[in-house]
């Protein structure tokens, strides 16, 4: 299991989600557990609780998981997914209030240095106040 905070990217668009993940990989590298999901349960634009749960599972780290979302439904579905997990995990997952692309890169950069979940979140969210 990785000692770094995991990053999950949740977009309405599968292309935006995978493109954002590509940027993170290229700019930050492979030391950060990274998963992405996009699209509704039939493959159209939207988000899926099931896919979000799978992405969280894929990057799970005891250090925690930071989620980056795009528009409204992505956040609501991510909150729903978190609540469906066991309680001991719920407190170790945060949704960052940051733009999805910039936030994901900032969060991953911070995570790659071994930072705590709170530091990862703060760094991603700082970006939106610059």
């Amino acid at each position: 299991m990785s000692t770094n905070v995991g990053i999950v990217i949740v977009s309405h668009s599968p292309d935006v989600a995978s493109g954002t993940a590509d940027m993170v990989r290229q700019m930050v590298g492979d030391e950060v557990p990274l998963a992405h999901c996009g699209g509704d349960p039939s493959g159209g634009l939207g988000t899926s609780v099931e896919a979000i749960l799978a992405a969280i599972e894929q990057v799970w780290s005891d250090r925690g998981v930071a989620i980056l979302v795009d528009l409204g439904g992505a956040e609501t579905n991510s909150e729903m997914a978190i609540e469906m997990l066991p309680e001991e995990r719920q407190g170790r997952i945060v949704i960052c209030n940051a733009p999805i692309v910039e936030g994901a890169v900032m969060a991953a950069t911070e995570s790659s240095s071994g930072a705590s979940l709170e530091a990862v979140r703060a760094t991603a969210e700082e970006y939106s106040h610059v």
């Binding site: 509704d40 349960p41 039939s42 159209g44 634009l45 939207g46 988000t47 899926s48 609780v49 099931e50 528009l71 409204g72 439904g73 609501t76 579905n77 909150e79 729903m80 469906m84």
Partner: protein, 204 residues
């Protein structure tokens, strides 16, 4: 009335078929002020619920509601999945196996609070809550012909979202331009409430 398999099955069929039949209308409303996917999302969710009708109907009413809510969470895809999922799952948590009017009033109140928390919203923001809250108030008031009155209250409440300005969801990005359109979530809530009243009316 008896809360048996036949009632649960009729309830599921009524509600699901109503939503599915109105999918295009809901999408049209959502194209005007949202992202145009409410009809297709709700249709996908309720088709999944309808597909499970037999196994859901074999459960006690509260368990059936919880399972239907979970289907909506997993299948709908938009924000309406968690919102309607939360509504049904909370009703399932709060209702006894054979609820009376008082149980229904209490459970709907709890479900509305849960939807408010999930959507970080309240009545007056041009959402499904603008139908659920007035209908709950009408239910609390009680009286004659309640099923008819509740369906009517739901339709009028959905109509009353037309002049409202959206403060939640994608429609809120439109600001004043959201005025003059019925909220799609208010419409789907009114449709569901009318279908529930019909199912109860038919089974008494």
């Amino acid at each position: 009335m008896t809360f048996d398999d036949a009632f649960t099955k009729a309830l599921i069929a009524r509600v699901s078929q109503t939503v599915i039949a109105h999918a295009e209308e809901l999408t049209r409303l959502d194209q005007a002020i949202g992202d145009g996917d409410h009809g297709i999302n709700m249709k996908r969710g309720f088709e999944a619920v309808l597909g499970e009708a037999d196994s859901l109907a074999a459960k006690p009413l509260p368990e059936a509601l919880k399972a239907a809510g979970m289907q909506l969470v997993m299948k709908v895809g938009g924000a309406s999945g968690p919102l309607y999922g939360t509504l049904f799952m909370t009703l399932g948590k709060e209702l006894p196996e054979a609820p009376d009017l008082e149980d229904a009033e209490k459970a709907l109140g709890a479900a509305i609070s849960a939807v408010m928390a999930r959507g970080k919203s309240k009545a007056g923001q041009k959402t499904m809550l603008d139908v659920l809250v007035p209908v709950h108030e009408r239910l609390s008031a009680g009286g004659e012909d309640l099923l008819f009155e509740l369906s009517d209250a739901a339709d009028s409440a959905a109509e009353a979202t037309v002049p409202m300005k959206a403060e939640k969801g994608r429609a809120s990005f439109l600001g004043d331009r959201s005025i003059g359109h019925m909220d799609p979530g208010a419409r789907s809530s009114a449709l569901i409430l009318r279908a529930v009243c019909q199912a109860i009316g038919e089974c008494r």
